[in-house]
């Protein structure tokens, strides 16, 4: 592996700035790395090397003229959920198998505006519905990490498994991702990377293939906390093309990394101490508490009483929104069209052939809970429980500045292990889904390894629009954790 691909985004930008290497050299190193290992990991669905090299050359020219932009010359990967003008975008689904968007998502447009270079499109669970990348129509991504002394392929998590695996395996400096119930944070935890889901509305959803619109948020997966701050500052910003995009200033998030956290109050929610939590995760959580205490934070036990109802509420709300959002895939204007004797048959066959099993399952659940006679009992009930969960956080944030929890209930598990049990798979998001329902920012950072040598993450949850505090806290924890392990087994 080239030394250049091992760099963090921050270090690479520093190297470009000081002239140690060019954007073309940096990009070439990443293209070579992808060529060498992507067949094993299945992280990239599409690579765009010519486009990357020409963008890198333009970047070098800008830098030579003294016109370098914030991310100029940084090669990154893009989750295949973001529409990229002229580059196939599938959302991991056969139904969009040949879709080539004639327009660019706002999040990626922001990154190109800032000089970033696209290496290609990253694999994901179909329509972001999954926690292991196994629902992708293009086959699962393989985690570059393996358990000590084992050859078994592990999941990188999902749905942003391609993004997380590519960052962990040095196949890009950073990647875009998206999070509806934990799809940035759980893969980050499973691959020893940093991921943040910002406040709902921080990043525009324009051009991001919709799953559950009231929950979907874009965010980055990166190698360091500072890198995540750099990426998020670029990806964020008000966009009139998304009516839920917040009209607020985007802070320079990187300026928060390295700030003192002395005097901040940190909540530790007792309801997250679940029965059957692996001892190693409980211990690591305790270590995280001690790192923050040592940095001058005040630790408080708090209660988020409706935590256990978050996942069941999510599995009404998200499928309900998905069943409505995915109604657009009817085989008429774009996407796969099946055969049939009548219009209805064409619709039914297009969707039966185009969607995978998990997506169909969720559309059926969503259609069921919205259907006559069940709407009040399920959908309306879930929206009320959602408010209860948001109120839990409001009460907590009157006492504390941020909340510390584990990111996921386990380390990466073997591919194939949970495929047959939907509810067991859904439980992966037990610690992350609450912030989607409440619209709050959540950041996962690698905190240590378990006994098998696999990474485990801790999650920081903040007040709405207070990502800055999360970056300060994460910076302190990153330094205390001293996480330097690498997945060198692929």
């Amino acid at each position: 592996m080239s030394e250049l691909t091992r760099l963090t985004l921050s270090a690479a930008l520093e190297g470009l700035h000081s002239g140690k290497f060019s954007a073309v050299e940096l990009t070439r190193a990443h293209i070579d790395a992808i060529d060498a290992v992507n067949a094993k990991l299945n992280a990239y669905l599409v690579t765009t090397p010519e486009r990357a090299l020409s963008a890198a050359a333009e970047s070098d020219a800008r830098r030579a003229k003294g016109e370098a932009r914030p991310l100029d010359g940084a090669p990154i990967g893009v989750k295949d959920l973001f529409c990229t003008d002229g580059v196939r975008t599938t959302a991991g689904s056969k139904i969009l198998g040949d879709f080539v968007p004639p327009y660019e998502s706002s999040v990626t447009a922001n990154l190109w505006r800032d000089g970033a270079v696209m290496l290609g499109k990253l694999n994901m669970d179909e329509f972001a519905m999954g926690s292991s990348n196994e629902t992708s129509a293009f086959g699962p991504v393989v985690n570059p990490w393996r358990a000590k002394g084992s050859n078994r392929s592990l999941t990188p998590g999902g749905s942003s498994g391609g993004s997380a695996a590519a960052v962990a395996a040095d196949l890009c400096l950073a990647a875009t991702a998206s999070d509806t119930g934990g799809s940035i944070r759980q893969p980050a935890s499973f691959t020893g990377t940093v991921g943040i889901k910002p406040t709902y509305g921080r990043c525009s959803r324009y051009g991001m293939v919709a799953f559950a619109s009231s929950l979907d948020q874009a965010g980055p997966i990166t190698k360091s906390v500072r890198d995540a701050a750099l990426m998020l500052s670029s990806m964020s910003g008000h966009d009139p093309k998304d009516s839920t995009s917040l009209d607020v200033e985007t802070p320079d998030f990187a300026a928060f990394v390295g700030r003192s956290v002395k005097g901040l109050k940190i909540g530790v929610p007792r309801e997250y101490r679940m029965d059957g939590m692996p001892e190693e995760i409980a211990k690591l959580w305790e270590a995280g508490v001690e790192w923050l205490r040592a940095a001058g934070c005040e630790i408080k036990e708090i209660s988020l009483p409706h935590t256990k109802y978050a996942l069941p509420a999510y599995y009404i709300i998200a499928p309900a929104e998905a069943s409505s959002n995915l109604a657009r895939y009817d085989g008429m204007r774009f996407g796969h069209r099946g055969q049939g004797g009548s219009l209805t048959e064409v619709y039914e066959n297009s969707r039966a052939e185009g969607f995978g099993e998990e997506v169909k399952r969720r559309i059926l659940i969503g259609t069921y809970v919205l259907s006559a006679g069940y709407y009040d009992a399920y959908y309306l009930k879930a929206l009320k429980v959602r408010r209860r969960i948001a109120e839990d956080f409001e009460a907590a944030f009157s006492q504390v500045d941020a909340i510390l929890t584990p990111t996921a209930p386990s380390a990466a598990f073997p591919l194939g292990e949970k495929q047959d049990d939907p509810v067991a798979m859904y439980l992966n998001d037990v610690f992350t889904v609450t912030t989607n329902l409440a619209g709050l920012p959540g950041l996962s950072l690698p905190a240590g390894l378990d006994g098998q040598g696999l990474p485990l993450g801790l999650q920081l949850i903040g007040r709405a629009l207070d990502e800055g505090t999360l970056f300060s806290l994460a910076g302190v924890m990153e330094e205390a954790a001293g996480f330097t392990a690498r997945p060198d087994h692929f």
Binding site: G201, I316, F334, F355, L364, Y368
Partner: protein
């Protein structure tokens, strides 16, 4: 309440997804498993709670009702399964 094959058939029809008869029982079993797990929401007291329909406190922004984009028929049709002379070609709708 339990989901049976007839319910799955009806819901699949509503969702416009062709599900062969032989899959209906299996799907009913799966969906029941999920819905049974969801039933625990009934334990939550939601009396007088307003449904939460948006993740942020925000009023919907308004803008002037003017055309901001368009006149790009080739791009609009570029991903169509079938198109002809500036139109989408779709199966016959009216018999």
């Amino acid at each position: 309440m339990t989901i049976d094959a007839a319910t799955v058939r009806k819901v699949a029809k509503l969702a416009r997804i062709a599900e062969p008869e032989e899959r209906l029982d299996g799907l009913a079993h799966e969906l029941n498993g999920i819905m049974k797990w969801i039933e625990q929401l009934a334990e939550v007291d939601t009396k007088d709670v307003e449904p939460m329909t948006s993740a942020v406190h925000q009023t919907l922004p308004m803008r002037d009702d003017i055309v901001t984009d368009g006149a790009r028929p080739e791009q609009v049709l570029s991903n169509a399964p079938r198109a002809d002379r500036g139109f989408f070609v779709v199966p016959k709708v009216v018999e």
